[in-house]
């Protein structure tokens, strides 16, 4: 397990399942869930197996169960598109919500949510608008150019490209892995959805890169 100290006394745990846990407040943060993305593809004639959605929700369930989180903060892009709010997806989602009825869920509006619309009221997901303050954290969807306080966000689907170095050259066997891009004033979370691509990160001095293989998590050396 990795524990990051973002400020004196402020510890968070990036988890291999692409979520960030804040134990002191039993709060779980995820970004870019893209619920119903496979369904949108299917409706347009691109056969993406729907199981990928179900697997994402199952992973979220497992996270809530094993962390005993009381609160889930979704940092934007909960639904993929308007068509994602189909009867089938909502039925599946409803079952999932009832299984975690005691968990408070907050949603920061992401760019996809603008088109997809808010979740139905019976989901009991609190729409927070573009930003919400959770304790010391400024929670938004996209990275802030000037973070007012330590900021948690998503949107970028950050991916680190790792390569081995041998004898002064990189091997071509490289890996693209989703990562937590941890800056001194802002952290970009990996996309929670496993059916997403990524944008390779640009490192700044002082940044830390926590990569996840899905099963394991570790801090990558830079350079």
């Amino acid at each position: 397990m990795i524990e990051l100290t973002l400020a004196p006394g402020l510890q968070v745990q990036p988890l291999p399942q692409r979520a960030l846990y804040w134990p002191a407040e039993a709060t779980l943060f995820v970004a870019d869930v893209h619920v119903g993305k496979a369904d949108v593809f299917q409706a347009s004639g691109i056969p993406v197996p729907g199981a990928v959605n179900a697997a994402d929700l199952a992973r979220l369930s497992a996270l809530l169960a094993c962390t005993s989180a009381q609160r889930l903060v979704i940092l934007g892009d909960f639904f993929h598109a308007a068509a994602s709010q189909s009867a089938q997806v909502l039925a599946r989602l409803g079952l999932w919500r009832r299984a975690h009825a005691r968990v408070e869920i907050l949603l920061v509006t992401g760019n996809h949510d603008l088109h997809a619309g808010p979740p139905p009221a019976d989901m009991a997901i609190v729409a927070c608008g573009e930003a919400v303050r959770i304790g010391p954290f400024h929670c938004v969807h996209a990275p802030e150019p000037n973070p007012p306080s330590y900021t948690l966000c998503g949107h970028m689907h950050p991916v680190a490209i790792l390569a081995e170095r041998a004898g002064g050259r990189y091997g071509t066997r490289s890996a693209r892995l989703p990562c937590f891009h941890v800056g001194t004033r802002q952290m970009v979370l990996p996309a929670f959805s496993s059916f997403t691509g990524g944008k390779s990160i640009v490192c700044r001095p002082g940044d830390r890169i926590i990569v996840t293989t899905g099963d394991e998590i570790f801090e990558a050396a830079i350079g």
Binding site: A38, I46, L162, G167, R169, S194, T213, A221
Partner: protein
């Protein structure tokens, strides 16, 4: 062959006579066969009148049906009679001019039109109402036509389908796409005659069978038109300072400039688009007298730019065109004085085709001057000359092209196309599809899978609830959604293009297309060379990279995917023969004499390869411990060997190896010495368990995932959008890599995943050739030489291996933990 009606024939004889020509016997034989209702394949070198050979038949047929020439002007143009399929748009324009010229000269009231991806939408709309008498088009455009229900009616009087440059199409998925279209046209009208045009090919009979699976006795007409090809090599004045490796060849620029100045017109062929850009820059920088009369031509340039170059070359306003293969097909514009080939042509057929661009008149001699980019290319040029000489003596001629067997991605695309074009019934379409060569062995299960894939998304239970594409009502399969129809039609043409972006000037004007992967590595403000200009990236919007002219003169040259051609099997054998002669002290011809000192150095430091010996060189550099192995069998099969060896070695003792392959051999690089004895090497080179081991390599590497890119695009899994397509399509973008992962995990029986693995095994790793190579090695002795430094043979391998690939049996997670985040500045090493 002169029992055809002379009266009918006479119009063409007259047409030839006015031009001071007379028909070749093979042309008359083709006209005759056509009039007797036959299909066939014509095999003729470039510039020997293939077009008239095949075009004459339909013209004579018209004359026979409408003998009264004086009544022709009053006739309206008849509906579609001739469909002319050509693989290249550049070729289409040229065919268009030549067909138009003959019907105008003869006063035949036909219309000839083009329909390619470049045609305006107004033209396409008009053609959907009425097709011209002769339509010149591409495989993609034919498929597109098949997606409209009224095409069948408009093609009801179709007489003849010509497939130009069939040797180029066969062996590609566009060729398979063409096969499916031909099967449909034959099903509509079994009397349609189909004629293929092919350049020299090692497997002409098979080429005919693939084109005409319904007519095993179809004539194979060979143009016995004497056309001699002379190959000359530019020999470096001083071999001492000539590079041992590299692929640019600018070392010989002064000599090349002299050649350019000595001729009125030259095509300078290079092997890659990047080389084209580099050579063009060099000419602009060093030959001020040729600036303005020098142009660039490659397949990624915008059509207008290409057309302008073709026109200027035709009019004699250009003296030098720097080109890749975009010009090496049989474009029939006036021949150039001189053809120069930079770097090895890597195959005998390609060299012949390029040489054919000079001395274009039948009977004339084609001369090609070869410019080596590094020392060992001299051996390849010598080998080409030797092989050509052998071929002229009736020896084994040129390379064969292997047709593709039942690619399911192309079938899946075709099913949706036909569902759009009026719908289909399963049994009828299956029977039709099986009449094509590619799908003659399609199993019922494979057919059912493809059908399920387009109707339900797949067979994984409940995985595709929301899927709609093709719907079935009472046994009729069709497409109902207009949006799906639109997406499908837009993606039909995508077989050829890899993920590419438009390059446009900020002030307006398109320059062409470039691989998205290249642009994505650039940052705003970075400079690169494209279309002969140094450009600066301003922004990327809607699949377009906007650029402006850079003030600086230097930029990086893009590397396009698939630019490097492997040495053909035939040429590799010829190279082995040259080196074996050298080993025995025989240096024949100027090329071999020039490289003699280098080969003697190789013998002093190590040895030269021998037919019954496999050479291993072991050496140490600051990179680590190297083992070089030299089977001299061509890059593709070496890549398979490299993957296999590194996998097996690492399996025996966990470690990480860098493995790399070139046309000459394999390099294995490790951090610690590879101390394997001969028995162990024998085991590593054994054919036992070959298939299993190679499959494991494929699965453990990125190979299949990468191969899936094209498959996903063809099967309609990727919708790459188009400029201005807006948000609705952006929501549908997913990379093929993610799709591959999702399928592998949630629908592992998906046959497209399986296809990706098979394509890697057969096409990339050439498992059949790899097995043959290993079997040959069983008969060879293994010879190990420890060298103090990199030998002339090893050096090019080492120099090229900066792009090494590796296989490892270490735990993936353990390896990742040792990796480092790659910094942007190092991206070009990747």
């Amino acid at each position: 062959m002169s029992n055809h009606q002379p009266a009918v024939n006479s119009i063409l004889i007259e047409y030839f006579r006015i031009r001071g020509w007379s028909p070749f016997p093979y042309q008359e034989a083709t006209w005759d066969a056509y009039l007797r209702g036959l299909s066939g394949l014509i095999h003729a070198p470039t510039g020997t009148g293939k077009t008239m050979a095949v075009w004459g038949g339909p013209l004579l047929e018209w004359h026979r049906e409408y003998p009264q020439a004086d009544a022709w002007p009053a006739l309206t143009a008849p509906p579609l009679r001739v469909l002319w399929i050509t693989p290249l748009r550049a070729l289409a324009t040229d065919t268009y001019s030549s067909l138009c010229e003959s019907i105008e000269a003869l006063g035949i009231p036909w219309t000839v039109e083009l329909r390619t991806g470049d045609s305006s939408s107004a033209t396409k709309q008009r053609q959907r109402k009425r097709l011209p008498t002769t339509l010149i088009t591409t495989p993609e455009s034919i498929s597109l036509l098949l997606s409209y229900p009224d095409t069948r009616r408009m093609m009801s009087d179709l007489r003849c389908v010509v497939v130009d440059e069939w040797h180029e199409l066969m062996g590609t998925k566009r060729g398979t796409q063409t096969e499916l279209a031909l099967a449909r046209l034959r099903a509509w009208n079994p009397a349609v005659r189909m004629w293929g045009l092919s350049a020299t090919l090692g497997n002409l009979e098979q080429a005919r069978d693939v084109l005409l699976p319904n007519a095993p006795d179809a004539p194979l007409i060979t143009a016995n038109v004497g056309k001699e090809t002379v190959v000359e090599t530019l020999i470096p004045a001083s071999m001492e300072r000539f590079p041992w490796a590299g692929h640019i060849g600018l070392k010989l620029l002064p000599e090349v400039l002299n050649l350019l100045r000595s001729a009125e017109s030259t095509i300078l062929f290079t092997n890659t688009r990047a080389q084209t850009e580099i050579w063009f820059q060099a000419l602009v920088d060093h030959a001020h007298d040729l600036v303005g009369a020098t142009a660039l031509h490659h397949g990624s340039l915008e059509r207008d730019l290409r057309a302008e170059v073709e026109n200027r070359l035709r009019d004699g306003r250009l003296r030098v065109v720097v080109s890749t293969s975009s010009l090496d097909l049989g474009v029939d514009f006036s021949p150039v004085d001189q053809v120069i080939q930079v770097g090895s042509p890597k195959g005998i057929a390609r060299l012949l085709q390029r040489a054919g661009r000079s001395g274009h008149q039948p009977g004339a001699t084609s001369v090609i001057r070869c410019v080596p980019t590094h020392a060992f290319e001299l051996v390849e040029f010598a080998a080409v000359k030797r092989a050509l000489h052998a071929a002229s003596k009736g020896g084994p001629a040129v390379e064969a092209r292997t047709p593709i067997a039942k690619p399911l991605d192309v079938l899946v695309q075709h099913l949706v196309t036909i569902a759009l074009g009026g719908g289909f019934r399963s049994a009828a379409l299956l029977a039709e599809v099986r009449t094509s060569w590619a799908y003659r062995g399609l199993s019922d299960a494979e057919w059912q899978w493809a059908l399920d894939f387009v109707t339900h998304g797949g067979v994984a239970l409940g995985a595709y609830d929301q899927f709609t594409k093709v719907v079935e009502h009472d046994g009729l399969y069709s497409v109902e959604s207009r949006e799906i129809a639109r997406f499908h039609r837009m993606s039909i043409g995508s077989i050829t293009s890899s993920a590419s972006m438009k390059v446009a000037m900020l002030k307006g004007g398109n320059l062409g297309t470039i691989e998205e992967s290249f642009i994505s590595r650039l940052r705003v403000g970075d400079r690169f060379i494209f279309a002969g200009r140094v450009l600066e990236l301003v922004m990327v919007r809607d699949m377009t990279a906007f650029v402006r002219r850079a003030t600086s003169l230097r930029g990086i040259v893009p590397r396009w995917a698939g630019g490097r051609m492997p040495l053909s099997t035939q040429l590799a054998a010829a190279v082995r023969a040259e080196l074996d002669a050298a080993r025995r002290g025989i240096y024949e011809g100027p090329e071999m004499q020039a490289i003699q000192p280098l080969l003697e150095l190789q013998q002093r430091w190590s040895r030269l390869p021998e037919p019954d010996m496999l050479l291993f060189e072991r050496t140490k550099t600051s990179d680590g411990f190297h083992v070089f192995i030299f089977p001299l069998a061509g890059r593709l099969v070496h890549e398979g060997l490299a993957a296999l060896l590194s996998y097996r070695i690492a399996r025996a003792a966990p470690r990480t190896l860098n493995a790399f392959a070139t046309d000459y051999g394999v390099e294995l690089l490790s951090a610690s010495p590879l101390d394997l004895d001969e028995a162990t090497w024998r085991a590593m080179l054994s054919t036992d368990g070959l298939l299993e081991d190679v499959l494991t390599c494929v699965n453990s590497s990125e190979l299949a995932r990468r191969q899936f890119r094209d498959i996903a695009r063809i099967a309609g899994l990727i919708f790459s959008g188009y400029p201005g397509s807006g948000k609705s399509t952006r929501q549908l973008q997913a990379s093929s890599g993610i799709l591959f992962d999702v399928f592998s995990q949630y629908d592992p029986d998906n046959l497209l995943i399986d296809q990706a693995r098979r394509e890697v095994l057969n096409d990339q790793l050439e498992i059949a050739r790899l097995r043959a190579l290993l079997e040959g090695i069983q008969e060879q002795t293994l010879c190990f030489v420890d060298t103090r430094r990199l030998t002339p043979l090893a050096f090019p391998l080492w120099a090229d291996s900066l792009r090494a690939q590796e296989v490892s049996t270490e735990r993936w997670e353990d390896r990742i933990k040792r990796m480092v985040v790659q910094l942007e500045a190092d991206a070009e090493h990747a």
